[in-house]
Amino acid sequence: MNQLSQPAVLADGLCKSFAAKQVLSNLDLALAPGTVLGLLGANGSGKTTLIKCLLGLFRTSGGRAQIFGEDAWNLSATTKERIGYVPQEVATYPWMRVRHVIDYTAAFYPRWNRELVADLCRRWRLPLDERSGSLSVGQLQTLGIVLALGHEPELLILDEPVASLDPGARREFLRTLIDLVEHPDRTVLFSTHITSDLERVASQIALLRDGQIEFCGELDLLKDRVKRLRILAPDALPASFAVAGALSCQVDGKLAVATVADFSPQEIDELRQTWNADVTVSDLNLEEIFVELHDSESPKLSQGELTGAVR
């Protein structure tokens, strides 16, 4: 029973500084087993730092980082066996042939699924007899993914795994992830800038901004709640025109465009009545939501705002 309540990944008041530069400040994050979490954040927001702290590759400056209930800095061998990790830049021994890199990695694990690995190599057309030093960046990245999957980890952590992959290989990667998460206990955390990939596979989204998790929750809920309103009034709207709880609001004469974080039909009716205005509501995809949240100067999107039940 303990397994159920214990998060696969936990950050509790996590802080990380490099000299005087604070990258993560008091960051909280918990991943329940079976979650596929997409980690989004601008360049330099600290995604890689967070991942490395969670894996115990960086020592935290404060707070806790845990994997399967163990301190990330002191992970036991049995816990490490349950983790797969694909770093942003995959490093291997360049003089080794690809098949030897695979055999070499396999030797570290008591359990290794050769069939799965052979199948993945075929799907990705990895040249097994070439030296790994002659692989392209994209091929090296796919090799990194294969190496991280061979021992069928319960927890897979990937740092921008698809940044160098072509669209076909990216889709192949997503299919692999989809196959993987058919097993309900598998947990995946991956950072990326490609929001359309997250829309396919992520159940949860975490947004990293200013060293903290600005939002963490269901992708569906985010799409249900964040909406853009176009308000067209018969007369010019006052410069002070504002929509309660809006992430952004632009007024131009009779027209106002606002993005709200917590869409409610009642609010629309109120706007219609108060301003005698035409209000249209449009859906936003993850990329648009990301940009809105990121550009917004408003205080953090509170968890409370987005915890309403899904209809």
């Binding site: 989809i178 396919r200 995809n285």
Partner: protein, 131 residues
């Protein structure tokens, strides 16, 4: 009859969550008579693999359809369109059509047309499409 997973037209990058797209499409297929009681929905796995989306999202959609009484879970066989799913299809169809019309009316008003002109246009379009 089994339904092909290709019946679903899923746009992952739309602002409409994927689970809702599936729910809406199944409801529309039932309302339009293209899915009838006793028809089986494609399996979660089939839909997930065909559309390259997370199977959990498909399960969630099917769960909602089940709790709305549109489909029933038949043990070992999958999701079956329920016998009661067709009750009141007209109301359903009307509501859907209204949702399609509302933005068109809105745009027509923005183009400066009067209600009378819009009505005339609607009549003309209706005649046109009947040809």
């Amino acid at each position: 009859m089994d339904t092909s997973p290709l019946q679903f037209d899923i746009a992952p990058s739309s602002g409409v969550p994927i689970y809702r797209q599936i729910v809406d499409q199944v409801v529309a297929l039932v309302a339009g008579g293209r899915l009838t009681p006793g028809d089986f929905l494609p399996s979660v796995r089939q839909v997930a693999q065909t559309a390259d989306v997370n199977p959990m999202t498909v399960s969630k959609a099917y769960g909602l359809l089940e709790s709305d009484g549109v489909v029933e879970r038949i043990r070992g066989q999958g999701m079956c369109v329920s016998a009661t799913a067709t009750s009141g299809p007209l109301a359903e169809r009307r509501e859907q059509a209204q949702q399609l019309l509302a933005p068109a009316i809105h745009r027509a008003r923005l183009l400066g047309l009067t209600d009378k002109q819009i009505r005339a246009l609607f009549e003309a379009s209706l005649k046109d499409s009947a040809k």
